[in-house]
């Protein structure tokens, strides 16, 4: 158990993100890539993800405004979005992406719309939580959250 209060807080935040299903094993993989030469790697990747995926969210939003829905296009956008979400370990977001793609495949426009609203909620919630987490991480200083097996 960490003595340093900031690090303890960080540990608790981290555990909660996993316990509540926001993050999966892939996030740990990213943590293992972090080292002294690149101490903010995870934050950099997550920042990149949010910046990059914003474009896809917008594309999907616009596509959902055009009726009839082009399910093929929607599925293609979501495929990309799901890939990136998976790469950072965004578990809930990834699950919603999978569901969205299933609705696309079955041509269920209502389902797509509802699912997309939920996806955006999860996406936003995760961002807030991760922003808070990284803020504490930066204050706490370098800490080994995961050990890369030698």
């Amino acid at each position: 158990m960490e003595r340093n209060p900031l690090r303890r807080q960080l540990q608790i935040m981290r555990k909660s993100l996993f316990d509540q299903g926001y993050l999966d094993e892939q996030f740990v993989q990213l943590e293992e890539l972090q080292d002294e030469s690149n101490p903010n790697f995870v934050e950099e990747v997550v920042t990149l993800y949010y910046r990059d995926s914003a474009r896809l969210i917008l594309n999907i939003e616009q596509a959902l405004e055009r009726k009839p829905y082009n399910f093929h296009k929607l599925d293609a956008y979501m495929h990309q979005f799901k890939g990136s979400s998976s790469s950072i370990g965004a578990k809930k977001v990834k699950a919603e992406s999978t569901l969205f793609r299933e609705y696309c495949k079955s041509g269920n426009g209502e389902g797509c719309m509802r699912c997309f609203q939920q996806l955006k909620k999860e996406y936003t919630t995760l961002r807030k939580k991760l922003e808070a987490y990284f803020q504490v991480a930066r204050q706490a200083g370098p800490m080994e959250t995961a050990c890369r097996p030698k």
Binding site: Q29, E32, V45, Y49, H79, S84
Partner: protein, 220 residues
């Protein structure tokens, strides 16, 4: 056993493996780049098959981008990319006399058997399911370098497998010879104490109680 590419290369060789990574996702490029750098590789990450071909000099344009022509030891490409897919890139590479020897690994978020089959048939070294892990990359480095050290692609693999089997065989032989020889134990020779033959022999060699008692009583 964990190993980085630099650890496995024969001593005296200080060359790092140069990997060309192809992925249209910015996030994935960043991650794969890091995975490879941590495994002591030189990395060139490009966003499309077209750029990959340009880099290799296969795009038909002469002296177009002035790349320093670093030898590429491995190509890792995403499957689903707009324009040229990873599969199409794979085909182009395997059909080029200059580059067909370079191992190509396909990465895909979708675990589709027909897709995997067609990639392997077209000459892909491996098909990795995304997201790619550090252990995947380390395994690749090992396989890739082992291939480079032997003559043929398949020959290298087979030799390694046989060697491993031989090692296993000899080690199992030596272990059985070094253990204490177990006495023949069969149900018909069960001793009173249920122990092995040696013990029961010891028991039966002791003088029976009855003869001793008789002697004692006589003394009274």
């Amino acid at each position: 056993m964990e190993a980085a590419a630099a650890d496995i290369l024969p001593s005296g060789s200080s060359q790092e493996l140069h990997v060309l990574a192809v992925d249209d996702s910015y996030v994935d490029r960043k991650v794969i780049e890091k995975l490879l750098k941590i495994s002591s590789c030189k990395v060139t990450a490009v966003e499309s098959g077209a750029r990959a071909l340009q880099f290799l000099g296969l795009d038909g344009e002469k002296g177009s981008l002035g790349f320093d022509g670093l030898k590429v030891n491995l190509i890792m490409t995403d499957y689903s990319m707009p324009g040229m897919t990873g599969y199409e890139l794979l085909k182009k590479i395997k059909r080029s006399s200059a580059f067909r020897e370079i191992p190509v690994v396909i990465m895909s978020s979708e675990n589709i058997l027909t897709r995997i089959d067609s990639c392997l048939e077209e000459g892909a070294e491996e098909f990795l399911v995304k997201p790619v892990k550090l252990s995947d990359v380390r395994r690749l480095m090992k396989d890739c370098v082992m291939r480079g050290e032997t003559e043929g692609n398949n020959a290298g693999r087979r030799v390694d497998k046989r060697k491993f089997e031989d090692d296993n065989h000899t080690s199992s032989l030596s272990s059985s010879s070094s253990s204490t020889p177990s006495p023949p134990s069969s149900p018909s020779t069960t001793a009173p104490f249920g122990g092995d033959v040696a013990t029961s022999e010891l028991v039966s060699s002791l003088p029976p109680h009855s003869s001793k008692r008789a002697k004692f009583h006589d003394g009274d």
